[in-house]
């Protein structure tokens, strides 16, 4: 799946962009450093009709709104057993509980059964469920659980690959989500406090602070450089693009007092960058317009894959090298790295 629509850049422009991004330090078209995120504006609690909602606006104008709604649902018999197992194994949320969270993504101008949209929704929901912490929280008692519906709306036209935007907005909406306080006890039919002020946060804060929902970040490699939060043009020359979901690990008691957080890797997906579909450039040596070619004609059939020439654009071929993948993940997770910085920034958002 190509992650964005075709970017209308010529091979010469692509080659220029690629070489400026492969320099040390890389020169990005918008002047950011390699690990710098786009500035963003975020707010939560914008829709009183939902259990939790958030809106994020990136500086390039892309905007998303996420609303969370919760419903009480009866837990099926076998599901319940499976759930207990899942909790024992400290949340390897595969299979069971994955249908307790339902996500839908709406992107303007794109059909809702479009493969790209479905892939986005799958990527976002698998990170949330795979983190494991959420499913346990949705449990009311042995017979009932909350079913969470997350509706993700991209308001602006999709200017860049919207994955980081949607993921951050979902993260904030989940943080702002509150569920009515349970009044009933044990396995009786659930009965809730109708005072919304008494509602509890799905992810409690303050003293009882727990792990937070994961965020999915887009990372790409160009040459030897690792670049975070790529724009549409930068994606067009990416060698490898990775969607890395980062969660927070609960700290052991000995580390409780220390500042900072322990990050853990939740999921990794390779995203097919549009660079693979770009047309290659033609080196002057074989370009008939530059007087070449007369000599070449006699040499038999043209090679299928022309040799790489310095400064001439050639779409990246083949898969990612394990070393590069490891470096991308490593760079994301390191303490004080981008994931840390993003989570810190989101901490600053007032959850009202």
């Amino acid at each position: 799946m190509a992650s964005t629509q075709h970017v209308l850049l010529s091979p010469a422009e692509l080659a220029y962009l690629h070489s400026s991004l492969s320099q040390t330090p890389p020169i990005r078209p918008d002047g950011r450093t390699a690990t710098q995120f786009r500035p963003l504006v975020a707010e939560t609690g914008i829709l009183p009709g939902t259990n939790g909602s958030a809106r994020i606006c990136f500086a390039d104008g892309t905007e998303a709104i996420v609303g969370v709604k919760a419903e009480v649902e009866a837990t099926g018999r076998q599901e319940e057993e499976g759930d207990e197992e899942g909790e024992g194994g400290s949340g390897n949320g595969n299979g069971n509980g994955s249908d307790w969270v339902e996500m839908s993504v709406e992107i303007p101008g794109v059909r809702d059964d479009d493969s790209g949209t479905a892939f986005l929704a799958a990527m976002l929901s698998e990170a949330v469920v795979a983190d494991g912490g959420l499913v346990g929280r949705l449990r009311i008692n042995g017979r009932f659980h909350w079913k969470l519906y997350l509706d993700i709306l991209l308001i602006s036209p999709p200017l860049s690959y919207p994955l980081p935007l949607l993921s951050l907005t979902t993260h904030l909406a989940l943080l702002a989500t509150r569920l009515p306080r349970l009044k009933s006890e044990g396995d009786e039919d659930p009965f809730f406090d109708d005072d919304w002020a008494a509602a509890t946060y799905l992810y409690p804060r303050g003293e009882k602070r727990t792990r937070r929902p994961p965020v999915t970040l887009l990372v790409m490699a160009v040459g030897k450089n690792i670049i975070f939060d790529p724009s549409k043009e930068e994606l067009a020359v990416a060698d490898v693009t990775l969607a890395v979901s980062v969660g927070e690990e609960s700290k052991p008691d000995s580390e409780k007092q220390k500042r900072g957080r322990r990050l853990k890797l939740v999921a990794v997906r390779t995203v097919d960058p549009p660079s693979r579909l770009t047309p290659p450039g033609v080196p002057n040596a074989v370009n008939a317009a530059y007087g070449a070619g007369g000599r070449q004609k006699q040499t038999g059939p043209r090679p299928v894959e022309p040799e790489a020439v310095e400064g001439v654009w050639r779409a990246p071929r083949g898969g990612a090298k394990p070393v590069v993948m490891a470096a991308l993940v490593q760079k994301t997770l390191e303490a004080g790295g981008v994931a840390d910085e993003v989570l810190d920034a989101l901490d600053g958002v007032d959850l009202g």
Partner: protein, 275 residues
């Protein structure tokens, strides 16, 4: 629906405490979205919608997914701009979560109503072979959905700078008693909320600016014909009030943009006859 409509006759107050001719609070903003050509956000009571306009632009092949609009034929060259509207009703917008697909009949009808209403008011002949893509997002619904969508779309088109004859403004009107109740003294009501819409007959009317020219008239419930005239008169009167409110929003934004120097000023602010 447990709406006690009989209470109206006692104090002449509606369920949310309004009189018969009062609008709900309307809050509107334009240019809410930097990346789009035009954008707006509109609240009518608890109904909240967002609108993003792209265009007029050359119709690209990617727009194929857009539903609505007039001519679906791709290769055909048209002498007017094509107004294509897509309405997305968010799953979380109503009290109970309801998932609506893009092919939902109600949504399609909303789209075609808005598209034809705006196409008549916009000077589409100035932009041949182009598309004006209007995408509307419903964030929260509490009655008068079509009216809110039309108002938001108008504001976004103004923000996009698409030439148009006048505002297309809409609001709803209803009647205090149901179709079956043979009540002679039924009062008309302005700007229905969701609860009233469920129970009472109502219609949506859109007019061209503050004139009496009706651009859209949609009535989906049974209503006695003798009450229709009163409802329509109240609705048209409401549209005039809505136009005043929207106009104030646009002027206020324009004034601020000149002050901030966002747009080039041709003359000083004092010379300019803004009002």
């Amino acid at each position: 629906m447990p709406l006690d409509t009989s209470a109206y006759s006692l104090a002449l107050l509606r369920v949310d405490g309004r009189r018969w001719n009062e609008l709900r609070r309307i809050h509107a903003q334009i240019r809410t979205q930097a990346a789009a050509d035009g954008s707006s956000y509109l609240e009518m009571g608890h109904t909240k919608v967002m609108c993003v306009v792209t265009g007029p632009s050359e119709p690209g092949p990617k727009r194929g997914g857009m539903t609505g609009g007039v001519g679906g034929g791709g290769g055909e060259r048209s002498s007017t701009a094509d107004v294509s509207v897509s309405v997305v009703i968010a799953g979380f917008s109503s009290v109970d979560r309801k998932r609506r697909g893009r092919g939902d009949k109600r949504t399609l009808e909303l789209q075609s109503t808005i598209s034809s209403a705006l196409a008549a008011s916009l000077h589409t002949h100035l932009h041949p072979n182009s598309t004006i893509a209007i995408s509307l997002h419903v964030l929260s619904q509490d009655g008068s959905l079509l009216a809110a969508l039309i108002n938001a779309a108008t504001l976004a088109c103004i923000d996009a700078g698409i030439p148009m004859t006048d505002y297309v403004v809409a609001c709803t009107a209803g009647s205090t008693s149901t179709y079956a109740a043979n009540d002679e003294g039924a009062d008309p009501l302005l700007d229905m909320n969701h609860q009233e819409e469920q129970e009472l007959p109502s219609l949506t009317v859109a007019t061209l600016g503050s004139s009496d020219r009706v651009a859209v008239l949609v009535c989906e419930s049974r209503v006695q014909v003798s009450r229709l005239e009163g409802m329509l008169a109240v609705g048209v009167d409401g549209c005039k009030q809505v136009r005043e409110i929207l106009d104030r929003v646009v002027r206020e934004k324009g004034r601020r943009m000149i002050q901030e120097g966002t747009i080039e000023k041709g003359m000083s602010l004092d010379d300019m006859d803004i009002d």
